[in-house]
Amino acid sequence: MYFKRLEVFGFKSFPEKTDFIFESGITAIVGPNGCGKTNIADAIRWALGEQSALALRGSRMEDIIFNGSADRKPLGMAEVSLTMSNPENFLPLEYSEVTITRRMFRSGESHYFINRTPCRLKDISELFMDTGIGTQAYSIIEQGKVDLVLSSKPDDRRYLFEEAA
């Protein structure tokens, strides 16, 4: 199974609907400091269900909604959709392609969708439960955090092995 597309709208520094097509092999994301590269990584993690604002570098979850710029007003909502292939029903659904969507308003009210059908966050977590997607700590290595596995305490680094087991 593989990721096909990421659609970002109103998430952090992406006020305009932006499509990011996943390719096989290696995709490089480049650009100057502060242009939004790590924000794309944050969008993927948020779509997969990240619940901690701190993990996304914010102090409140509201921080992930586009907050305006010199020439633009803040937006009231952020929405990210992640589309993936579903060969041989890797995910327990009848579709050959699965899109999960997460939407959040400034009030904190959140909506979730699977293939555009409303669902609960619980349904998305259960969908990925045995696949390792979204939970494998070693599949996303955050900026500046490579050294953590070495600097962490011997007990703390166990969880990486438990996830691989």
């Binding site: 520094s13 993927i44 494998q136």
Partner: protein, 155 residues
């Protein structure tokens, strides 16, 4: 379960030494269960010895050596239980040019099974990508995506 963890641990340990030696061109690396009697709770120690150097605590390794050791461990975990995708955000930052070459050469072994997304400022890393997304902020505070597809890597 205990046997499941030990099986995973043993396999990761094997890959870790192998990948370390590939990335460092020699030397050796070990994973050690601190409390062998209590496998399900024991902490895990990391031992790493770059080629030609004496074995010392990993704290004495250089910034680049630590990054390369961490990469060997993360890829060892990845080998045991691959993820369909892997996102690496500027992990080449502490590496010198020849270590970046070794890292990207190693990456080739993994792209068969997983998609890799690599955020980087490094030209060597960029050169081995199939696709490059440029992110710009021409309008302050507003990110825009530009796709550059490299024709070469179609094999």
């Amino acid at each position: 379960t205990r046997s499941q963890f030990m099986d995973t641990f043993t396999r990761v340990r094997g890959h870790f030494n192998e990948l370390f030696r590939t990335l460092f061109g020699g030397g050796r690396a070990e994973l050690v269960l601190i409390d062998e009697a209590d496998v399900l709770e024991s902490g895990i120690d990391i031992v790493a010895q770059p080629p030609g150097k004496k074995l010392q605590t990993i704290s004495l390794l250089s910034g680049g050596e630590r990054a390369l050791t961490a990469i060997a461990l993360l890829f060892a975990l990845f080998k045991v239980k691959p993820s369909p995708f892997c996102l690496l955000d500027e992990i080449d930052a502490p590496l010198d040019e020849s270590n970046i070459d070794r890292f990207i050469r190693l990456l080739q072994e993994f792209i068969g099974n997983s998609q890799f997304i690599i955020v980087t400022h490094n030209k060597r890393t960029i050169a081995m990508a199939n696709v490059m997304y440029g992110v710009t902020m021409e309008e302050s505070g507003v990110s825009k995506l530009v796709t550059v597809r490299f024709a070469k890597k179609t094999s």
